[in-house]
C-alpha cells in the first residue's frame, strides 16, 4: 500500500472566489506552439487583420492542435517570447486589439439535440479545429486522445475533478459555476467513446463543488460522483485511476489500452464550448494565488501578458521573487512576467521577496530514503538520481526512469533539498 504524502492545499480563499472575466489585452501575444506534439506553422503575416477565434497557426502533422486569435485586430509582430509550456523562448504572434470583437464564425454550433446524430468524426474534428488540448497541464491534443481504435472499447470515463496542485482552484470554480456545461462536455466525450460509464472523481475538501456536481451529474444515467480524500499525487491521471478503479495502468501505453479515459474538468468545459457554442479555445480560467492580497480566479484570454494581470491586481512587481505557472508542484517558474497566458496556464502563483523564507541550500543526501517510500509510482528517485549524476543512464533506465510522472513529491520531501524531480525529469526528456 502506498502512503501518499499530504501537501497543504492553500486553497481556502481562492476556492470561494468566483470567476471574474479579465479585460481583453490591448496586445495579445499568442504562442504558436502550446501543445505536446508537432510544432505549428504560422498562418498569418504582419499587417494581417484577424478576427476573434480565427485560426492563426496550425500543423499538418497528426499530433497537433491549432491556435486561434483571442481578440480581433491586427498582427503587428511575429517573433519569439518566453513560452511557459516549455520554459524556453518560441514563436509568437503579437495582435493589437481593435476593440471591435469581430468574431470568426468558422465553427458553427451544434445543438444538444443534434449531438446524438452527429458522427464521431465530426465531433473529433471539431475538438481538433477548436485547438483543444489537455488543460490539466499535459497539453496533449484531445482529439488524438479521443480517437480510440474500434477494437479497444472504453468502459469508463473518469472526469478528473481532483485538481491536486496546491493553490490552484480554477477547476474547482468551473465545477461550482459551470457544472451544467461540464455535463454537456461529458455527453460529447461519452458519445465519442461509445457511452462508457462515467465517474466524476473529486475531493471531499471541495465542499462547495461536491454537492453541485452531485446535483448536476446525479440524474445522468450510469454516472457516479465519487468524492473522497485524495492526496495531491492522486490528481495524476494514472494514480487517480488506481484510486478510483484500483487498477494500475501500465506506463508507456496509451490510456485506452486499459479501457479507461481520464479527462480533466477544464478540458471538458472547452469541449462543450467548442461543440455547442462554436467557440475555439481562446480563453481559460486561471487562478492567481500565492503572496497576493486577494486570490483570484479569472477567465482570461490566451495571449494576455502575465504582467498585465499582475498590475491589474496591484501585485508589486518589484517585490517578485518567483512566479510559477501551471502549479507549484509541476509547473514552471517563469523567467519573465512578459510571458503570455497559454492554454496550459492553469494558475499563476506569485512568491514575493518580502514574504518568502530564505531558500534552504542543497546539501548531501542523508539516505533517509523517504523519496523512495513517498513516490506514488513506486520508483527509487535517489537511486535514479545517483545513476544520472554518475552518467550511468543505462542504470537509470533500468530503474524505470521513464516511468516518472514528474509529480515532484520526491523533491518536496527531500530534507537535503536535492532537486531529484528536476534532474530525473530533465534526463527523461533527453
Amino acid at each position: 500500500m502506498t502512503n501518499y504524502v499530504e501537501i497543504k492545499e492553500h486553497k481556502e480563499k481562492a476556492r470561494i472566489t468566483p470567476i471574474e472575466v479579465f479585460p481583453d489585452p490591448k496586445v495579445a501575444i499568442v504562442l504558436t506552439y502550446q501543445h505536446t506534439g508537432a510544432v505549428n506553422k504560422t498562418l498569418v503575416s504582419v499587417g494581417d487583420t484577424v478576427a476573434m477565434g480565427q485560426k492563426i497557426a496550425d500543423s499538418k502533422e497528426k499530433i497537433s492542435a491549432p491556435v486561434h486569435s483571442p481578440i480581433s485586430g491586427k498582427v503587428i509582430k511575429i517573433g519569439d517570447i518566453y513560452n511557459s509550456c516549455y520554459a524556453e523562448c518560441s514563436e509568437a504572434i503579437w495582435i493589437e486589439n481593435d476593440n471591435k470583437n469581430t468574431k470568426d464564425k468558422t465553427l458553427t454550433p451544434i445543438s444538444e439535440s443534434e449531438l446524438k446524430n452527429t458522427p464521431n468524426e465530426v465531433l473529433i474534428k471539431r475538438i481538433r479545429d477548436a485547438g483543444i488540448i489537455g488543460l490539466g497541464g499535459a497539453g496533449f491534443p484531445t482529439s488524438i486522445k479521443l480517437s480510440v481504435p474500434q477494437d479497444k472499447p472504453i468502459k469508463t470515463l473518469i472526469v478528473n475533478a481532483a485538481e491536486g496542485e496546491p493553490y490552484d482552484t480554477a477547476d474547482e470554480r468551473l465545477m461550482i459555476e459551470k457544472a451544467e456545461n461540464l455535463l454537456r462536455g461529458v455527453r460529447v466525450v461519452r458519445k465519442i467513446l461509445g457511452n462508457p460509464k462515467v465517474i466524476v472523481a473529486t475531493k471531499v475538501s471541495k465542499v462547495e463543488a461536491v454537492p453541485k456536481l452531485q446535483s448536476v451529474f446525479g440524474k445522468e444515467p450510469d454516472t457516479q460522483v465519487i468524492a473522497k480524500h485524495l492526496s495531491y499525487q492522486q490528481g495524476d491521471a494514472s494514480v487517480l485511476q488506481k484510486a478510483i478503479l484500483g487498477y494500475e495502468a501500465p506506463p508507456g501505453k496509451r490510456s485506452y489500452e486499459s479501457g479507461t479515459i481520464v479527462q480533466n474538468v477544464a478540458t471538458l468545459n472547452a469541449i462543450a464550448n467548442a461543440v455547442f457554442e462554436g467557440d475555439p479555445l481562446i480563453s481559460r480560467v486561471t487562478t492567481l494565488n500565492g503572496d497576493v492580497k486577494e486570490p483570484k480566479n479569472i477567465l482570461v484570454k490566451i495571449g494576455t501578458p502575465i504582467s498585465s494581470i499582475l498590475s491589474h491586481y496591484n501585485v508589486n512587481t518589484n517585490d517578485l521573487k518567483q512566479v510559477v505557472v501551471g502549479g507549484v508542484m509541476m509547473g514552471n517558474a517563469i523567467q519573465t512576467i512578459e510571458a503570455p497566458i497559454t492554454k496550459r496556464t492553469s494558475s499563476i502563483i506569485v512568491f514575493s521577496k518580502s514574504k518568502s523564507k530564505k531558500d534552504q541550500e542543497q546539501t548531501a543526501c542523508i539516505h533517509c530514503s523517504n523519496c523512495i517510500s513517498s513516490c506514488p509510482v513506486k520508483l527509487h528517485p535517489i537511486m535514479i538520481y545517483n545513476a544520472i549524476m554518475k552518467g550511468d543512464f543505462d542504470k537509470a533506465e533500468k530503474l524505470w526512469l521513464k516511468d516518472c510522472i514528474a509529480c515532484g513529491t520526491c523533491s518536496y520531501v527531500c530534507p537535503a533539498r536535492i532537486p531529484l524531480s528536476g534532474i530525473i525529469c530533465g534526463s527523461k526528456s533527453t
Binding site: 501537501i7 512587481t317 510559477v324 534552504q360 530514503s369 523512495i372 509510482v377 533539498r417 525529469c425
Partner: protein
C-alpha cells in the same frame, strides 16, 4: 511591444515548494530526543557516588575525580558535542568545501556520549586486567573527546567525501579508539580473570542459563542473574532490585544511553512518530523481533531453565537497546530499500547474539553494526520493487 528584460525572478525546476522537514529540523528532533535520554541518564546516575577512597585503593585507580556519575554523563555530553561541533566549524573554515552541519555534529556528539560506557560494576575488583579508569572521570572525558574527534574528522567528514559512508561514525570511532583494550573492555571472558576461581564468575552464554544460584556454562560460578545484578545495580544500594526492573527500568553501568531501556523505547518511538518516514524504523523493528527470536533459539539450543534472563539480557542490554533505536537507524549507513532495511535489522540481530554468545563480547551490537554497515552497498541491490503498473 514586450519588454524582454528579465526580472530578477528565481527560475528553477519544479516543485517550487518544499516539505516541512529539512535536514536541520530532522537533526534538531534527533538532538532533542538524545538530549532527553542524556538527561534521564544523568538524573538516574546522579545517585551513583564517586568511587570511595577504599575502592580507589583496592582497584588501584589513580587520579580519579570524585564526582557523581550523573555529572560525568553531563560533562561527557558537553565535551563530545563541543569537540564535534568545534571540529566541524574548524574544518568548514579551513576547507571551504566542508559543509557546516552544526546540528548533525551535535547529534553525533550525543551519540558518542550515549554509546560510551560508564560506571564501575560491583565485581570490578582488579584494575590490572582492564583500564577501569575509562569508566569514570577524568579518563572518560579524554576518551570521549578522542572518539568524538576521530569520529567526526575521519568517519564523518573524510569518509563522507566519496559520497557514501560505509560505517557508522560513532561506532567505528569507539571501536577504533578502544581497540587496544579489546581483550579487557570488550571481551567478557577476560573480565576479572584474576577471579576466575573464588570470585564472581564470568558468564558464558554458550551454555545453559539456570535459575537461582545454578552456574551458567562451564566457567561461571555465579548465576547469570547474580552476575547481571552485580553488573548493573547501583553500587550505593546493598540489595539489588529484581533482574526485570534492573534491565528494563534502570541500569547503573554500561552504555550511557542504555541506562533506562524503557526511556529509550519511549523517546525512540516518539521520535519515530514525530519524524515519520524520515527514520528507518523498519531496521529497529526487524532488529528487536530478531533479537527476541534469536534469544529463544539460543535458549532452546542450550536448554535454559531461565529463558527470561537470557531474553532480558539480549534485548535490554544498553548496547542493544540504544544502538537498535538510535545507531542502527543512522540513515547514511543503512540500506535504501525497505527489504534491505529489514534484512539489515535481522542480520544485525543475528550477529549481535552470535558475537555475545560465542565471542563473549558483551555489547557485541557495536561490532555487529560495523559488519552490517559494510553490507549496505550489497543490500541496496535487493528489494528494488517494480514501479506502478509494471
Amino acid at each position: 511591444m514586450s519588454k524582454e528584460t528579465p526580472q530578477d525572478l528565481i527560475v528553477k525546476s519544479a516543485p517550487h515548494i518544499t516539505g516541512p522537514m529539512s535536514k536541520n529540523r530532522l537533526m534538531q528532533y534527533t538532538f532533542v530526543a538524545l538530549l532527553v535520554i542524556t538527561a534521564i541518564t544523568a538524573i538516574l546516575w546522579w545517585s551513583v557516588p564517586a568511587p570511595t577512597t577504599a575502592q580507589i585503593d583496592s582497584l588501584k585507580l589513580t587520579n580519579v575525580w570524585q564526582m557523581p556519575l550523573g555529572a560525568i554523563v553531563l560533562l561527557n555530553a558537553l565535551i563530545a558535542i563541543g569537540v564535534a561541533v568545534g571540529a566541524d566549524a574548524l574544518l568548514h573554515k579551513v576547507a571551504s568545501d566542508s559543509q557546516l552541519n552544526i546540528w548533525s555534529s551535535a547529534v553525533f556528539g550525543l551519540i558518542v556520549t550515549l554509546s560510551y560506557s560508564l560506571g564501575i560494576p560491583e565485581m570490578a575488583q582488579a584494575a590490572d586486567v582492564m583500564p577501569i579508569e575509562t569508566l569514570t572521570a577524568p579518563m572518560a572525558f579524554l576518551y570521549v573527546a578522542i572518539i568524538s574527534l576521530i569520529g567526526l574528522v575521519i568517519f564523518k567528514k573524510i569518509q563522507g567525501i566519496g559520497g557514501r559512508k560505509y560505517v557508522n561514525p560513532a561506532a567505528a570511532a569507539k571501536f577504533l579508539v578502544l581497540l587496544p583494550f579489546i581483550g579487557s573492555v570488550f571481551l567478557a571472558k577476560d573480565h576479572f580473570a584474576a577471579f576466575a576461581s573464588g570470585g564472581l564468575g564470568v558468564p558464558n552464554l554458550a551454555g545453559a542459563i539456570g535459575g537461582g544460584t545454578a552456574p551458567i556454562g562451564t566457567n561461571g560460578v555465579a548465576s547469570f542473574v547474580t552476575y547481571l545484578q552485580g553488573c548493573y545495580k547501583n553500587p550505593a544500594i546493598a540489595t539489588p532490585p529484581d533482574i526485570t526492573s534492573l534491565m528494563i527500568l534502570e541500569k547503573f553501568h554500561g552504555w550511557t544511553g542504555g541506562a533506562s531501556a524503557i526511556a529509550v523505547i519511549i523517546v525512540g518511538i516518539a521520535l519515530f512518530v514525530l519524524a515519520r518516514k524520515y527514520i528507518k524504523w523498519k531496521v529497529t523493528v526487524a532488529y528487536f523481533i530478531s533479537i527476541f527470536a534469536m534469544s529463544i533459539i539460543m535458549s532452546a539450543i542450550y536448554a535454559d531453565s531461565d529463558m527470561v534472563t537470557r531474553l532480558l539480557f539480549e534485548v535490554f542490554i544498553g548496547s542493544s537497546i540504544f544502538l537498535g533505536f538510535f545507531m542502527a537507524t543512522d540513515p547514511a549507513t543503512t540500506p535504501f530499500t525497505g527489504t534491505g532495511q529489514i534484512i539489515f535489522g535481522v542480520g544485525l540481530a543475528i550477529l549481535t547474539v552470535l558475537i555475545q554468545t560465542y565471542m563473549n563480547f558483551f555489547g557485541g551490537a557495536l561490532l555487529a553494526l560495523l559488519i552490517m554497515n559494510l553490507t549496505v552497498p550489497l543490500l541496496d541491490r535487493v528489494g528494488i520493487h517494480k514501479p506502478f503498473g509494471r
